[in-house]
Point group: C2
Chain length 214, copies 2
């Protein structure tokens, strides 16, 4: 079978939060990460690491922190209150995923070295942030696309930042590394499909802010 087309995949990669517990074969997981590391990285230094968690006890550990954090975020953040139906459906799916995080077959922690040394030496915090996050999130996107191409559902989450220290201690992640994304993975219960986005004309500015074409 020919591999799926690049635009077909880009247009149909959406957050998949309702996942089956069926295991993902090791070769599939490796192919997904191998797509991730084709992404660019600051100075091509490839200062990233990808932790794949399949052990049931370890997944429960994550689930408990994630679920507690999610409840706090929902209560304290501006997510609360009445929501339009599409957002409410998304929030329900997020809550279900948080509650059942230990049922997914694999959880990926995408890690990156905290400081990009050549820029850190110049004491430009923003430059360092850009080099660090600009190293890991392109790899994360390649991973999400590779998951979609291989029929694996996944979603990019970041609220683990509220319990990152506990994660690092539990999994032995070095102090020099940052956990930038937590990505639950599994074969989806639902279907992949088109994402809804504002029209591209609204986000392109030609030569000057506000100069848009309809």
């Amino acid at each position: 079978m020919a591999e799926p087309g690049i635009f077909e995949i880009i247009y149909s990669t959406r957050a998949m939060r309702r996942l089956k517990s069926d295991p993902i074969p090791e070769e599939v997981l490796k192919k997904i990460i191998d797509a991730g590391i084709r992404a660019p990285s600051g100075g091509n230094a490839q200062e990233w690491a990808f932790m794949l968690i399949q052990d049931p006890d370890l997944k429960r550990f994550i689930r408990d922190y994630y679920w507690n954090t999610w409840q706090q975020v929902r209560a304290q953040g501006s997510f609360s209150g009445e929501l339009p139906p599409p957002q409410q459906r998304m929030m329900n799916a997020v809550a279900d995923l948080a509650a059942n995080m230990d049922e997914v077959p694999a959880i990926l922690l995408a890690c990156v070295r905290k400081e990009y040394a050549p820029i850190a030496a110049m004491k430009n915090q923003r430059g360092s942030n850009l080099a660090v996050y600009g190293t890991i999130f392109p790899a994360v996107q390649n991973i999400l696309l590779a998951c979609r191409a291989l029929g694996v559902g996944a979603t990019l989450t970041t609220i683990h930042s509220f319990f990152e220290e506990a994660l690092k201690q539990k999994f032995g992640i070095p102090e020099t590394m940052e956990v930038a994304a937590l990505i639950p993975m599994g074969y989806p219960q639902g279907k992949f499909g088109p994402v809804s986005r504002r029209p591209v004309e609204e986000v392109i500015h030609w030569d000057r802010w506000g100069n848009q074409k309809s």
Copy 2:
């Protein structure tokens, strides 16, 4: 013609720094950005903007700042000194791109809202950073892949962080937005091709840091 396969594109998208000055048709530029906005974003809020700069004077403005900054980074950062030949070739290409930045047909500034409001309200700076950069860099990666698929060369750069205020003032970019990436684009002089990376086995940790399989 069938569209190129997703893995073929992922495996052959490398930084393209030697670019022709031939213009990129507007429809191609729009298709590239339209691929970008299929990426996920914090809360699906799509708080991004993509500035495409084609005006010669404006490109020269960027070129002058970029070239001066590049010379400072090279002199002060840990990029200096003797380098192995592949890194030296890369540095030469980076220098050539910086010197000729006004010759590329289009420069993209990928912008994102600086604070992710639901997390910012919880005063977790790291969480906000992850939500902000985790919003824009997946879109940037989709853009790099779409460029590759359409035969356009591009490279992700971040040293504009040293002159971001000048950029924002010149182009009228609101204070609330951050310029996360500067991406020169053009049809390549060279060929796309495989990227060199460390083996995937070295970056996957199974269930615990340091638990690797060869």
